[in-house]
């Protein structure tokens, strides 16, 4: 099968739950030999290595150098020290470029401070480490165009995920457009951003599982995340070429059960994303 010029590899489809089959949220977009990572959940570097082994050589460790963060919650950023340091140890020379909400630069500088002794040892000891690969270049973004090169144009848009700034991303490749929701409650903005896109990665929680949650967690998720029926409604309005569920909160529900919940209100193509799926 011919691969599309712009493709997405789901490196991590998970949530804060320590599901051994699902790493923390991370999506890799590959376009024209270039790589763009979205979110940095725990396990990202190993999953990238697995994708590389499976043939996506763009995800070779030394080529992991561009990251876009949707927000700074730990399930989306716990892989950051790994992504900053491991590829450097493996030979990456370029500093890690990180786009994200205000607070991104502080997070990166505190990570570097936490690992200062290790960085020093590698730089000053006998290890043939380069001088630049451990550095980070943060770009603290607002909404609108945040990145553009010959392969993609990337726009950040606001999502509803608590008081701290959080973004979704729209990636316009040469002949495909991809939208990544990040964590969010349903909004009209996401519908307009993903109107007619080819791929919509959207977070979701199971309505049936939700009913079994304690009241305080229900209140939290109602405000911060998207239920299956809400997503069905949202997707019916946005009409993506393919809706990919990720960051699925099953709460005991099966994958089939979750898709069935969505089928109640949405008839078009759905995939329940799993780690290392390629779209």
């Amino acid at each position: 099968m011919d691969q599309p010029a712009t493709r997405a590899i789901l490196l991590g489809s998970g949530t804060p739950h320590a599901d051994p089959d699902r790493c923390g949220p991370a999506v890799a977009i590959v376009a024209g030999g270039e790589l763009y990572l979205f979110d940095c959940g725990p396990g990202i570097v190993r999953r990238a290595a697995a994708a590389c082994r499976a043939g996506a050589t763009e995800l070779e460790a030394v080529r992991l150098q561009r990251l876009f963060l949707t927000h700074l919650h730990s399930d989306h950023t716990a892989g950051l020290p790994d992504l900053l340091l491991t590829p450097w140890v493996l030979g990456r020379r370029a500093p890690l470029e990180v786009w994200g909400p205000p607070g991104t630069a502080a997070m990166l500088s505190h990570i570097q401070e936490a690992y200062r002794a290790d960085i020093r040892l590698r730089l000053e000891g006998r290890e043939p480490a380069n001088e630049t690969g451990w550095q980070a270049r943060p770009h603290e973004i607002a909404t609108g165009r945040v990145y553009e090169d010959a392969q993609v144009a990337i726009d950040a848009f606001p999502v509803r995920h608590g008081p701290a700034p959080a973004f979704g991303y729209r990636i316009a490749g040469r002949e495909r457009s991809i939208v990544i929701s990040g964590d969010t409650a349903p909004t009209d903005e996401i519908v307009s951003q993903s109107l007619g896109c080819d791929l919509l990665f959207h977070e979701v929680y199971s309505r049936a599982g939700f009913a079994r949650q304690p009241a305080d967690w229900q209140a939290y998720h109602r405000e911060m995340h998207t239920a299956s029926d809400e997503l069905a409604d949202l997707a019916s309005r946005a009409c993506p070429g393919l809706l990919v569920l990720y960051h699925q909160l099953f709460w005991g529900e099966s994958e089939e059960g979750l898709i069935a919940e969505l089928r109640g209100g949405y008839g078009a193509r759905i995939a329940s994303g799993r780690d290392l799926d390629v779209y």
């Binding site: 205000p102 502080a106 500088s109 770009h139 973004i141 165009r145 008081p163 701290a164």
Partner: protein, 270 residues
Amino acid sequence: MGHESLPDATWTSTSGPSRRPRARLFGWIAAAAVAGVLATLPYEQSITLSAESVLLPWPALLVASLVHLALVLLCASIGMRLGPTLGLGAPDLIAWVERQPHAGSKLGRAIRRGLLWGAAAGIVTTMLGAAAEAILPLPEELHAASWSPWHGLLGAFGAGINEELIFRLGVMTLFARLLSLLVRRLPPPPALIWTANALAALGFGFAHLPILEVLTEVNHLTVGLVLAGNGLVGLLFGWLYWRSGLVAAMAAHFATDLVLKALVPLLLPL
């Protein structure tokens, strides 16, 4: 039991991380801009006095100062909004208000670097100016204006802050964004940053033409000298803004003006 509370009070703000320090930073910038406007007044009045023999009446001075301040704040907001995706803006100052590790010592290094480059630029400019005076047929009343070194010192302080907020944080950043829209590259490649720097430096040069009228006769030669002189130091400040941060550019501008406006009049009185 170890860390029971969050390590930094700024993170417990109800509006989420990092909004409060940023608002505080803009407050600092506004305060610096007000101080800058006030500091330039005695120097500007000295020049006006030597040229016109009268001072501006205070209502006119107040209006002019408020317009000046509004322009500085507008430019600062543009730069703070557009800077981050361009690799410009004031990340060094944000790091400082957020108390990021080593932010203070980085700022200190940037200031030292700026002061050195700026002082060097001031000395070179003075020498080139003297050479131009010796070689070129410049009009007579080149030294018509005089001011006290103290006014020069204050003027250097004010210009270091406000002209950098306008021309580097505002104008250069805006040019960089416009050029990046034109060539569809974000962040813009270095050649584009240099183009934005050159355009801002040119604007910086033009902004210094009105004072020429006060100091001497306006002709091709004097206009050319003002544009070249200010354009070149403007390029230096733009390069520092891009590579070492806004504060480095401010320090350099202050040091250059200190040499030109205070030390030269002090050491080489007429």
